[in-house]
Assembly symmetry: C2
Homo-oligomer: 461 residues x 2
């Protein structure tokens, strides 16, 4: 392992320069104008994989942007790690808020990153993070210390919902066979409090339409005597939480499985300053489900939020209309073992059941995502914890994420293996925002941590 | 009176032709492109007033479009009637739904108007209606039977809020001195059930803004632990009505004055078919304040409606945002003696008082309008009722209007006199909509009714 570390130390500048070249490619999957850039980016990654000593490198077609695949199989008796990452990036908008060109990577020191951070779209999400694995594997190959077989799956549509990845997984199931999936697309709580993401919430997302009269009515002529769809939609939404902020959708909590007391005890070791939390988002007071802490409310408990609402007159000034229709987008974050399809069905039935007789209700369901959990007893979790504790030199604690990465559940369903979410970014790295950046220290620490994961995971098998 | 009736009968075609010429002018006050047409229209009306025998005709400047003034003072000891009307019209949009050109008046028979109706923008609202007065006065002058002094005030900004009329009234207060104001800018319930509008509801209109965090938040990372401004706005709006559909704004009903039992008894004689009412607007069921009929709810009772709501993501598909802000436009219809400024203040205070500590509330008030009522004991009301009963040959009943004509209260405040709302249109005449029309029978009946009003009003003084 000393040799591997030495290789990494002597190649720091080369690794950084190679990452900078990848970051210069505007691989924005949401905008068809950049289609050629995505193809170029896939080719550039394939070339880098080959140069790094990875074999059987291919740019594989999907119904959308291609997947870059590569592998290094050293011994069929050793475990196989599948590295997942994505080379596509979010649009840089609003472009005017960037202090440097999003596709001209720039190194600057910040308060949180006194050793420098690389500013560019995709630096942390996810080019900078998946590239740590490529370089770590290069270091292991070059120092003859690869402890596991390794496969790479780097996709180009994560930022637009990975719509074609499920079909790809089914088609290439054998090729992608693995013992554990390793992903760096999340963050640690802080460098002082490194964490591993042990769970993700699922998602159920719907749009509701409430219809009253068959046309917009004059509020002078009809006001007081007819159902107003906006008022009724507000009544219905208000009734979706009770006074304890529990979700009132019938049977909503039935399948919620409690977190183990061990994991909860570990989570509770994490520092949390409520005043700091409120100040960061400008709130005087917070609300949430009674009986749970803020950290629990955003990680191990399901929630319901209105994400959008509209109806009637939204322009300047005054218009005295009672609209025919009003709309809302409503989503629920789910925890193990809530099933998004079941929850969507429960919500639809409940929402229709609470509608007054005077109005019609339509409910449209969008694609959801399943919750995910990696038990703290999993060999992958234990190996990642040990690897990070080796390089961070701190205790590493489990932390459930509040958001959703639906592909992780899909991996488990199709490939049958668990994913370890070992991210090295920080929440302050401005992912999806202007001035996205990735600390150089985080980048190098990540490259050094990964070989330890390979070593410990191999030893645990 | 026989001579006057004969004059009207022999000049029917001339009157219609003159109205058609006025309707050809696209005097759309909302669109500055038509500014010259409004000036031309004012000049054409002034010319017609002169030709009709009306004296001291002037086109008087305002800060906006001019007012056409004229008078015929026959005897200072006789009462003076001020005729109010407006020569501006609504835009014809959506133009593609018109079956004939909105500014090429066309006569067609309809089910409700078997004797023909004149289709044109402004035919009923209000060129066709104020022109009845010009022609009735012409008939009275030419037959030497004018029973009262008469003044005309025809404005050009009614469809854009009569913003400059208050200043005009103050400036010309002496010139406009009168005993009663007569307005034909409303409708009758039907030709079989003629009605006089004895009241109008007032209006209080506000926009509310509810603010949570200082920026949009990711619903995965924060959902369940922070106040969602949309959910909270819905809670607050839902609480504005109690289970009996009473408005819960503190002291809201304090100044509501009850209708007299005589007027209520008269109103209740009007036919009302609830099934027909519901079918016309496509509703299975209706709601409203407990203990009141639909007719009462829309006329003599105040109401509160949300006219618009918006916040968060309103586009296609799903976005998992907890927005920083949510908005609503909320209006209240007021009845005598509720004061719009007082109600606006009560609402603002109430709305802020019900906000949870976690959010900030801003309330912006728009210009409101006072409610108006004409007692059934007023000489103007009695004269109009008698006049209409003479020509319609039916009992004429009082009907409160649910909408607002703020200028009527302004007249009372500045000029000190009551307005009689003696309209001859029908609600089915498509005012403000494509294919606006005015029945020829209604037009001629109006012209014949007006001299009786002059006669009875003169006799009652």
């Amino acid at each position: 392992m000393e040799q591997t570390n030495n290789y990494i130390d002597s190649n720091k500048d080369k690794f950084l320069q190679e990452l900078i070249e990848l970051l210069k490619i505007p691989s924005i999957s949401a905008d068809p104008m950049y289609a050629q850039n995505l193809l170029d980016c896939a080719d550039a990654i394939a070339k880098n994989l080959v140069e790094s000593g990875i074999e059987n490198v291919e740019v594989l077609e999907t119904k959308g942007y291609p997947v870059v695949y590569g592998e290094k199989i050293i011994d069929n008796s050793l475990p196989t790690i599948l590295i997942y990452g994505h080379y596509d990036v979010q649009p840089p908008d609003p472009i005017n808020l960037w202090e440097s060109d999003p596709f001209e990577p720039t190194i600057k020191n910040t308060e949180i990153h006194p050793d420098g951070a690389l500013f560019a779209r995709g630096s942390a999400d996810d080019k900078g993070q998946f590239f740590m694995h490529v370089k770590a594997v290069e270091a292991m190959i070059n120092t003859n210390s690869l402890y596991c077989n390794v496969k790479f799956l780097i996709e180009g549509e994560e930022e637009v919902g990975s719509e074609n990845l499920e079909d790809f997984l089914i088609e290439h199931k054998d090729k992608l066979k693995n013992d554990i999936i390793l992903i760096s697309d999340t963050s640690v709580l802080s460098m002082e409090n490194p964490t591993l993401t042990t769970g993700l919430r699922g998602l159920s997302y719907l749009e509701v339409e409430v219809e009253g009269a068959n046309r917009d009515l004059h509020s002078g002529l009809y006001g007081g005597a007819v159902p107003n769809p906006i008022n009724i939609l507000c009544d219905m939404i208000a009734s979706l939480h009770d006074k304890n902020e529990n979700v009132t959708v019938k049977d909503f909590y039935d399948k919620v499985s409690a977190i183990t007391s061990e994991e909860l005890k570990e989570m509770q070791k994490l520092p949390f300053d409520l005043e700091e939390y409120k100040n960061a988002i400008g709130l005087n007071d917070i609300t949430g489900e009674r009986g749970y802490s803020t950290l629990e409310r955003t990680t191990i408990r399901p929630s319901l939020d209105v994400n959008g609402i509209w109806g009637g007159y939204m322009g300047e000034g005054a218009k005295t209309v009672i609209p025919s229709k009003a709309y809302a987008k409503i989503s629920m974050r789910l925890v193990p073992n809530q099933n998004p399809n079941e929850i969507t069905k429960l919500f639809s039935e409940h929402f229709k059941s609470i509608a007054p007789a005077s109005i019609k209700v339509n409910v449209k369901a969008f694609h959801g995502g399943k919750p995910y959990v990696l038990p703290c007893t999993d060999k992958g979790y234990i190996s990642a914890k040990k690897a990070m504790e080796k390089t961070f030199e701190k205790e590493v604690l489990p932390l459930r994420g509040g958001g959703s990465i639906p592909i992780v559940s899909t991996f488990e369903e199709i490939l049958g293996t668990k994913s370890v979410l070992m991210g090295f970014g920080l929440d302050s790295d401005a992912l999806h925002s202007p001035n996205e950046h990735f600390g150089l220290k985080n980048f190098y620490l990540g490259i050094k941590t990964i070989p330890y994961f390979f070593k410990y995971y191999s030893e645990s098998n």
